[in-house]
């Protein structure tokens, strides 16, 4: 296990020293660009009004969720339709601990992540044996089931009546962050998820995930413990999603099981990854930013028609860029071949 995670930096200096030594201008520019974007986002916060801050906060949330889904769905090839279960469990862990037991948010956060990971391992061990649609539906069922359990444990979770986190006065275990605080929190969360995805993708473990995706039997035959790879990938993904759910819960203050177990969260994660381009770090990032900005723009400007247009855009993107927009642009740039018609022909019957 440790051997898989150690990655390519198997030098005597250990993980990070080896990495830093291996950096050259050619391979370190994505990291520098990422740092620049992060710094720019920090600076931008001082310039924008609260409404825009709120919009960008939701963009950061979806960047983290899309990166998390990409680890299990994009790299490992197991399209989970139940990721929202970890979101909801993270949210409810924080809310229950803060509301019922007056635990501070910072103490509840790691527990929320732990609950998400434990649930992921518990359902992952049996369900990750299923492939294709069957895995998707089993995880969808697991998420629906988790929601119903939370919904019916009324004495602990408040059931369908919802739950409220105390945020003001002496009653509050942790003071409310406010809009600027949550902007920062979700920005850091998005950055951490991008870094986790990028580091994983370039590690030995990342290659193992791709190998499982490409051909699981062959991956097993060359000595990859596919069960460990799949469960760990599922667990890492769940940890990010649960963490996002914990912050989301605190941000919302009051919410219902139907809010934080809403299957449309899962669907949006999948769509953002697919439209951006799965199996890369930039794809989900671009997909999340683009789609969230687009959907909010449509909501503001088109009123009742916004969902109709949103659906039509998804259909058109799937038909014209079936491999994802970022993947298309990258391949087109490399091969100097920009024909969109060939793109449409690719998967045609």
């Amino acid at each position: 296990m440790a051997d898989i995670l150690r990655g390519r930096a198997r030098s005597r200096q250990g993980l990070f020293v080896g990495w830093i030594r291996a950096l050259t201008p050619a391979n370190s520019w994505p990291a520098l660009a990422g740092l620049l974007v992060f710094a720019a986002m920090l600076a931008l916060q001082q310039l924008i009004e609260p409404g825009t801050q709120r919009l960008l906060t939701s963009v950061f949330l979806f960047v983290a969720l899309a990166q998390a889904w990409n680890i299990i769905g994009g790299y490992t090839g197991y399209a989970s339709f139940g990721q929202v279960a970890f979101f909801g469990l993270g949210a409810y862990t924080v809310a229950v601990l803060m509301n019922n037991y007056h635990v501070s948010f910072w103490a509840a956060l790691p527990l929320a992540v732990l609950v998400g990971v434990v649930f992921a391992v518990a359902i992952g061990l049996p369900l990750l044996r299923l492939r294709g649609h069957y895995f998707a539906i089993a995880t969808l069922g697991a998420a629906e089931g988790a929601r119903e359990v939370i919904n019916n444990l009324t004495s602990v979770t408040g059931g369908g009546g919802g739950i409220t986190i105390p945020t003001f006065g002496s009653d509050a275990p942790t003071p409310y962050f406010g809009k600027p605080g949550f902007y920062l929190a979700f920005l850091v969360l998005a950055a951490v998820s991008v870094v986790v995805a990028a580091v994983l993708a370039r590690s030995r473990f990342g290659y193992a995930m791709v190998a499982v995706h490409e051909d699981e039997d062959a991956a097993g035959a060359v000595g990859i413990n596919t069960t460990v790879v799949k469960v760990v990938a599922f667990g890492v993904s769940a940890a990010i999603v649960a963490c996002a759910g914990a912050f989301y819960a605190f941000q919302q203050i009051e919410f219902y099981p139907t809010d934080v177990f809403d299957a449309s969260f899962t669907v949006l994660m999948v769509i953002m990854v697919m439209i951006g381009g799965s199996g890369s770090v930039v794809g989900p990032l671009a997909g999340a930013v683009g789609l969230q900005l687009l959907s909010q723009f449509l909501r503001v400007n088109l009123g009742n028609f916004n969902q109709l247009i949103f659906g039509a855009i998804i259909v058109l993107v799937v038909v014209f860029f079936p491999q994802g927009v970022v993947t298309y642009l990258r391949d087109a740039w490399r091969t100097r071949h920009f024909s969109i018609l060939d793109n449409v022909r690719r998967y045609r019957l």
Binding site: E144, V270, Y347, R348
Partner: protein, 295 residues
Amino acid sequence: MSQFLQAAAYGVVQGGLLGLVAVGFSLVWGVMNVVNFSHGALAVTGAYVAWVLNVRFGLDPFLAIPVVAIALFAFGYVVQRGLINLVINAPIFLTLLLTFGLNLVILNGLQLLFKADDRTIDTSYASQSFAIGAVNVPYGRLAACFLALGITVALALLMSRTRLGHAIGATGMDRGAARLMGIRARHIYAVTFGIAAALAGVAGTMIATVGSFNPTTTPGQLTLDAFVISVLGGLGNMYGALVGGLVLGIAESLGGLLLTGTWVNAIAMAVLIVTLIIRPSGLIGKALYSGRVEV
């Protein structure tokens, strides 16, 4: 005891109806490997067609069924031929994404046309019932259940006895070989999706007659039910959806009697997951499509 029998009877008639919702979904999934997210939306579209015919022309919903079926078949044929066929060779989740987008377009289109209100098709007989002992059986639901049975049997006969059915089955098993035998796969896929859409429309009409529907919550619930039933019953067998529907219908109505709150939904999901783990080919499904070759 009578309460128990009543719940069982209700479960059976409800299950037949749910089976009719799922049979088209299962067909498309089995033959084309497409999980159709817009299936519930197609059912509700059929319900609206029948509702408009009923409100404008006073047409009885059972008489409206042929019109609904033809309209939805045409719609389904065009959607498959012009849209889904374009990405049919893509990784499975792309088709899912496409039907999700389609689902949004249909639902919001319906909502703009008809508002988000709950609708129902009123008939003089749907709410009346007759009694066997202490058990009340509503006419509308019974008729819908028999219709579901009849259509499922007809579909099974179509698949096993006609050239069209054989062509659909062959294309589902090995598209490359089927095309070498002169089967036009594009057309066959479009016909398959058309049949599924027509069946969904008929099911939607029945749901509108025995209960109520709206464009916001009904489609998602129907698609999820179709999911569960298809997995329970297994793909590649026309009677699978019917069996799955009956199991789900009876389990839900008996569960509703015995359990408080919405625990019954949690139980249904647990049953689904356990079925998937123990017997992924479904209760009566066989691994007909497991040796599928995609060319």
